[in-house]
């Protein structure tokens, strides 16, 4: 598993619940370290173990925990860089949804070995979209709930009103339904194209 994934879990716990909660939790695994390196690769089972102990410590089910992490990735100031990279995808929420097909490829341009699951958007008409999130081949970790968290937070970011729901797991993909109720529901957060643009 790419270190960025483990690092994201770590930052989520640290930034949301504090350093002590993270240290106390990670010590249980006896890994010999307490910090993940974003640019190194770890065994997939370590990610699995970390999610298990974190879920137990925070009393959150696996899917709820992953969804919280997805929301954190977009909405927390510490991960502003990632929010900006996602906002490059489209000028509005629909444009952003349509850019998701390219997301794994976009991510690969930045971090060649990140290995995001494949994404495929289907426009069902009437503001309903189905997003298929591919199941990874090299590990059992389902990332669909993370995507749910990201899609909900990005709707807020764009100021769109949308219902995002995990609909289950198929043979080789998870299905997420996005029902767009109102595109210009609220003023979203600002996004300036320039590097270091206002973080609003």
């Amino acid at each position: 598993m790419h270190g960025l994934v483990n690092r994201a879990i770590e930052r989520f716990v640290r930034d949301t619940y504090g350093r002590d909660v993270w240290i106390g939790t990670i010590h249980k695994l006896d890994l010999g370290f307490t910090e993940f390196e974003a640019m190194m690769t770890y065994e997939p089972r370590i990610t699995e173990q970390v999610l298990t102990v974190v879920g137990t410590r925070l009393a959150r089910g696996r899917d709820d925990l992953l969804e919280d992490i997805g929301t954190y990735l977009v909405s927390h100031p510490a991960t502003e860089a990632l929010r900006r990279l996602l906002r490059f995808g489209g000028v509005d929420y629909v444009d952003f949804l349509h850019s998701l097909d390219d997301l794994p490829e976009r991510a690969r341009l930045a971090v060649a070995d990140l290995g995001l699951p494949g994404l495929e958007l289907q426009d069902r008409g009437g503001g309903l979209y189905h997003l298929h999130v591919g199941l990874p081949e090299e590990h059992d970790l389902r990332l669909g709930p993370v995507v749910v968290g990201i899609l909900r937070a990005m709707a807020d970011d764009y100021g769109a009103l949308a219902l995002v729901e995990h609909q289950g797991v198929g043979a080789d993909h998870e299905i997420i339904a996005v029902r767009l109720l109102e595109e210009g529901f609220a003023h979203g957060r600002a996004f300036a194209l320039g590097v270091g643009g206002s973080a609003a």
Binding site: L4, A38, F88, V91, A110, A192, L193, G194, V195, G196
Partner: protein
Amino acid sequence: MTEQERTLLPLLAGLCPMHAVLNAQGHVVQAGPTFAKLFGAQPALGMRFLDLIELRRPHQAEDMVTLLACAGARLRLRLRASPHTALKGVLLALPGGGAVVNLSFGFSVVEAVRDFGLTGADFAATDLTTEMLYLIEAKSAAMEASRKLNLRLQGARIAAEEQAFTDMLTGLRNRRALDHVLDRLMQSEQDFALLHLDLDFFKQVNDTLGHAAGDHVLQEVAQRLRDAVRANDLIARVGGDEFVILLLGMTERAPVRDLAERMIARLEEAVLYRAQECRISGSIGITLSCAYDSPDPARMMADADLALYAAKGLGRGCARFHEPPDKSVAPLRGIA
């Protein structure tokens, strides 16, 4: 303007948001929305193009004639007003003496989107600018993460090396470090004096007062040796009570002998351990790299060792130089 131009020119606004149409006098008669943004509140329409933008390459231009002379070429231009943004572009002549100019930012794009508050909608749908800005940010973020990792790894490597080259009890260098430095000195052909120091009466301290006392004495010896040499000299603990000292740049016997004798005098000052006086001394064998045609670390260590035994034989607490055998009587090896 011909009928055809009247039909086609408006299409340019959608395809090339940073274009301008110039009339035969070189005045802007039509401008794309992004072109207009470059001049803020000042309307570009009706202005002389060359008053707004300076042509820098392939040559300067003062009027429409010189401007049209570089039709079709890659142009490098610059805004006349602050922030003097660099631009690239191309100019194509229109029938009737006018021209169409299309501009883009090139490498100035990162500053330009900030300076002019541009958004994705300010670029043509086919333009790769947004993708490029995305890549710049994504790569910068990835590079920053890599750079931090590199710094941490480098710190860890230095700490590990430091540990691998350090004698933990005394904080002096160890045998590995000594070999390393000797190799380096050989490669860089630097001269130095090699002193082999063996403590005298240390065993008695260990036997009568215990290992803790012995360790304390060794730490005190290390401090006294450090005080005696210069910062770039090297002191290594190579055995229980054996040390090797490299004095860099030393080619004369007299100052080395003085230093060795001062060291021995310092070692003979009593060390206090739990109100007990521990008394030791030291014997030193010395050899100079400049005494060899081509110095070899193993040979020099062996020679310093021989000199050390000679010093011990002379009753301890003294320093001896290795005496090379008289070349006329070679190959007999010996010590004076």
